[in-house]
């Protein structure tokens, strides 16, 4: 009963801790490893035009709208003096700038920051099947013949489309295709031609516009792409090569082939799209993403705390990790230490002073303190004043070592202010009692045990990945808690007992 309760509680803790962490990692994208970076794309659309006389201007720019495979993290518009509205018309999102009096060179900017998210994006509803269409002769005959050939070569809509596109891209191989391809002169027209041909086969198709996300100093142009609906889902094809799919660096900007921009009242309008890649700490990206989603995870995130408080928690959250070492060394290995969690505190002090100088300092302080303690013993002081005296001596010794290290040019000695002096005092006091009562061997054994466990705790607490994990996913301390609960019911032998009782483990009885 008791045990079942414990197991149920542990399972609950593990499940809740892990599920929150997995949610934060999978959905919000909190990185599992430190220094993980994510790629962000900055896209800038720069619309320019001129107006030679003073008068009203209206400009329209299509904006990416839930593009498949990407999420928009942030967008902003720069347009001095213009009124701005955005609206959604059919599947398009459009920014409309308007100004009553404009003159000269005009510049409008649209900036968006997007990142890759495979699951993102909203696709338009399934379109109706198109009506069969009639072309003028001789194209009509060529169309029918070409469709027949392609149909014979394909199994379903997807293979049909790519077979058709392949024939159009290599017109020399097929006289019908050759004839039809004379209708198109550039990529947009070729894509439009493909749509026409597919309409002939009663396959819903449309030309969409994509922008390739490439880190280049040059501006990029919107390119035509084919979106075909096969009755179940949208399929994408490169109208030029016939390759299927929407590559991971293609941002679908518009769901139709009409120009991305339109200006009323200006001339010489031009849209330049510039793209640049930006790597950002995956952590801050996740934070911003969670903020954008208004997730509770971010409201209760440690990153909301002031930086100095965060720094404190960075240390505090590592204490349970140090406690793992203690539990392991004491209950499973059986190492003797002074005080239960004293080694963790010493390990924390090592974080300030680095390991080598920390160990040296520990050894110096304890041995100097012990010497003083033995001297004070001869003065027959009462316990509490004696402890106070040792504490004072420890502080003075620290000061002395810091000054000494400073003179010797060893910088590390100065950063030991956090060395837990009260705790050092207790170590010295306990060690000296053990020394008196049980002999120097026991005292040194305990002191070494404390030191070894502290060093081990320091090393474990210094593992970057662990530090990152507990800070970004503090809920992981719940499974850890479950681990401690379970360890609390470990009634097996300690490693040291195998040696201690080895005389009894001789020949099995």
């Amino acid at each position: 009963m008791n045990r079942r309760h414990l197991y149920a509680l542990s399972a609950l803790l593990i499940a809740s801790g892990l599920s929150v962490a997995i949610y934060k990692h999978r959905v919000l994208g909190y990185p599992l490893l430190p220094e993980e970076s994510a790629s962000l794309w900055s896209i800038e659309g720069h619309l320019t035009f001129e107006r030679h006389t003073v008068g009203p201007v209206k400009a329209r720019l299509k904006l990416p709208h839930d593009p498949p495979g990407f999420r928009i993290l942030r967008e902003d518009f720069v347009s001095r003096g213009y009124g701005l509205t955005t609206e959604i018309v059919d599947d398009e999102r459009i920014a409309m700038w308007a100004v009553r009096r404009a003159n000269g060179q005009q510049s409008l900017y649209y900036r968006a920051t997007v990142y890759r998210d495979r699951a993102a994006g909203e696709l338009p509803a399934q379109p109706p099947f198109p009506e069969a269409l009639e072309l003028e002769p001789p194209f009509n005959e060529a169309l029918a013949a070409l469709l027949d050939t392609v149909r014979a070569e394909s199994a379903d809509v997807a293979t049909f489309v790519s077979a058709l596109l392949k024939r159009l891209s290599l017109p020399a191989a097929d006289t019908n295709a050759q004839l039809l391809s004379t209708l198109a002169t550039d990529d947009f027209e070729r894509a439009q031609l493909a749509v026409t041909l597919l309409t002939g086969a009663r396959i819903p198709a449309r030309v969409v516009q994509v922008v390739q996300l490439l880190n280049s100093p040059h501006t990029v142009d919107a390119r035509p792409w084919l979106a075909i609906h096969n009755g179940n889902e949208w399929l994408f094809f490169d109208p030029v090569s016939g390759a299927s799919g929407l590559e991971s660096n293609l941002l679908l900007w518009s769901w139709d082939s009409a120009p991305l921009y339109e200006v009323d009242g200006g001339i010489g309008e031009k849209l330049e799209i510039a793209v640049s890649a930006r790597t950002e700490d995956a952590l801050s990206l996740a934070e911003r993403r969670a903020t954008a989603r208004d997730s509770a995870a971010v409201q209760y995130s440690l990153f909301q705390l002031p930086i100095p408080t965060q720094a404190v928690y960075e240390v505090l959250l590592m204490i349970p990790i140090g406690a793992i070492v203690i539990v392991f060394m004491r209950n499973f290995v059986g190492v003797k230490t002074f005080g239960t969690f004293l080694p963790v505190l010493v390990a924390l002090a090592f974080r300030e002073s680095r390991l080598i100088s920390g160990v040296l300092l520990f050894a110096l302080l304890v041995s100097a303190g012990l010497a003083v303690r033995f001297y004070l013993e001869r003065l027959r002081l009462l316990l509490v004043p004696r402890l106070a005296a040792i504490l004072t001596v420890v502080v003075l010794l620290m000061l002395f070592f810091s000054l000494l290290f400073h003179r010797l040019g060893i910088v590390t000695g100065l950063s030991v202010a956090l060395f837990p002096m009260v705790i050092m005092t207790m170590v010295i006091e306990r060690m000296s009692i053990v020394w008196d009562e049980r002999g120097p061997m026991e005292a040194i054994k305990g002191g070494l045990g404390t030191l070894v466990v502290a060093m081990l705790a320091y090393v474990v607490m210094g593992i970057d990945v662990l530090e990152h994990l507990v800070f970004v996913f503090p809920e992981l301390l719940l499974p850890l808690l479950a681990g401690f609960l379970l360890a609390g019911r470990y009634t097996g032998y300690r490693l040291s007992e195998l040696a201690r009782f080895r005389a009894l483990g001789g020949p099995a009885k």
Binding site: L383, G488, Y490, Y493, E497, F501, A503, L504
Partner: protein, 318 residues
């Protein structure tokens, strides 16, 4: 159990704490054994023989009264009421004026003794450094039969009592290394005792086997502990007295007074298994499974003794 000591039924610390101490010893009962003054009072009320208490010192102001307490006594013992492992105990063999001779033969001046008492009262020997009290009590004149196998100090007998049944026992013999103290971790010799007959079987120092006393050279095995039946009975009665299910009972043998209960321990050590060359687990489990809980102390002792004689009972083999 996969390990060799597991097959031997050795009880480890984790198991002792988790499955026995925590399960059978109620936390609220601990003060009964942790404070030796309470233990002593309780024992007197229950008719369990203990070394006579001359008095106690509660604050440093009481220290001068020590002289009055021991004025009529040639020898006496001062011990911290909350001490553990024999720490802080001073045995005074004789005293005259402001000089005190310890059983080791060295002289303590009054100031030194007073300082020790002040430290003890300040909590130097109590867990957590809490203020403590000092007991001043009768110094046991131990039975000369143990002379060949002790060096200074008082040999004592530890009996593990589980649910009132004495399950394992050992004789602890002070050595030069242990400074006259009968604690195994301080270097005393431990000798296993046949629980039914009170005969020593085998000895250990630390974790190593030994057949003779390191200082006197006398054989350790084969000693018959006198008053064994009485000792078992005292040990068994401590269960009713404290209500603690897993208990270590420490006894000494006085030349004139017979067996006296010295102190009780709610977390008795595990070295007794080495001294007996046997694990505790089979015996504890046997008691868990077969013992009748409602028996009187004497009947419990008799039951255990009958088991040892009855090879078919499966007591020792586990």
């Amino acid at each position: 159990m996969l390990t060799a000591i597991g097959r031997a039924g050795v009880l480890g610390i984790n198991r002792r704490n988790g499955d026995f101490v925590m399960r059978y010893n109620k936390r609220s009962l601990y003060p009964l054994v942790d404070d030796k003054l309470i233990t002593k009072k309780l024992a007197q009320e229950n008719g369990i023989p203990v070394p006579q208490l001359f008095g106690s010192l509660d604050t440093p102001r009481d220290i001068p009264s020590l002289n009055d307490l021991v004025a009529q006594q040639q020898s006496f013992v001062v011990k911290p009421s909350h001490g553990s492992g024999g720490d802080g105990i001073v045995v005074i063999d004789s005293h005259r004026g402001r000089r005190f001779w310890t059983c080791g033969g060295s002289v303590l001046l009054w100031a030194e003794l007073a300082h020790h008492l002040e430290n003890t009262l300040g909590g130097q020997y109590s867990l957590g450094g809490h203020p403590d009290r000092v007991m001043v009590e009768y110094r046991v004149k131990f039975d000369p039969m143990f002379n060949p196998v002790s060096y200074l100090g008082v040999p004592d007998i530890r009996i593990i009592v589980f649910l009132g049944f004495p399950v394992m026992a050992m004789l602890r013999l002070p050595t030069r290394r242990s400074g006259g103290k009968a604690n195994l971790h301080q270097g005393a010799v431990g000798a296993g005792i046949d629980i039914a007959y009170g005969k020593t079987v085998h000895g250990v120092i630390g974790n190593n086997n030994t057949d003779e006393h390191p200082d006197t050279g006398a054989a350790i095995g084969g000693l018959e502990v006198p008053y064994w039946q009485q000792m078992l009975s005292i040990a068994a009665r401590c269960y009713e007295m404290t209500g603690l299910g897993y208990l270590g009972v420490d006894l000494v043998l006085d030349e004139h007074l017979g067996p006296l209960m010295l102190e009780l321990n709610a977390r008795p050590g595990l070295n007794i298994q080495i001294a007996n060359a046997a694990g505790l687990l089979p015996r504890l489990e046997y008691v868990q499974q077969h013992a009748e809980p409602a028996l009187l102390p004497e009947d419990r002792v008799a039951w255990i003794q009958s088991l040892v004689n009855d090879r078919t009972a499966g007591w020792q083999s586990g």
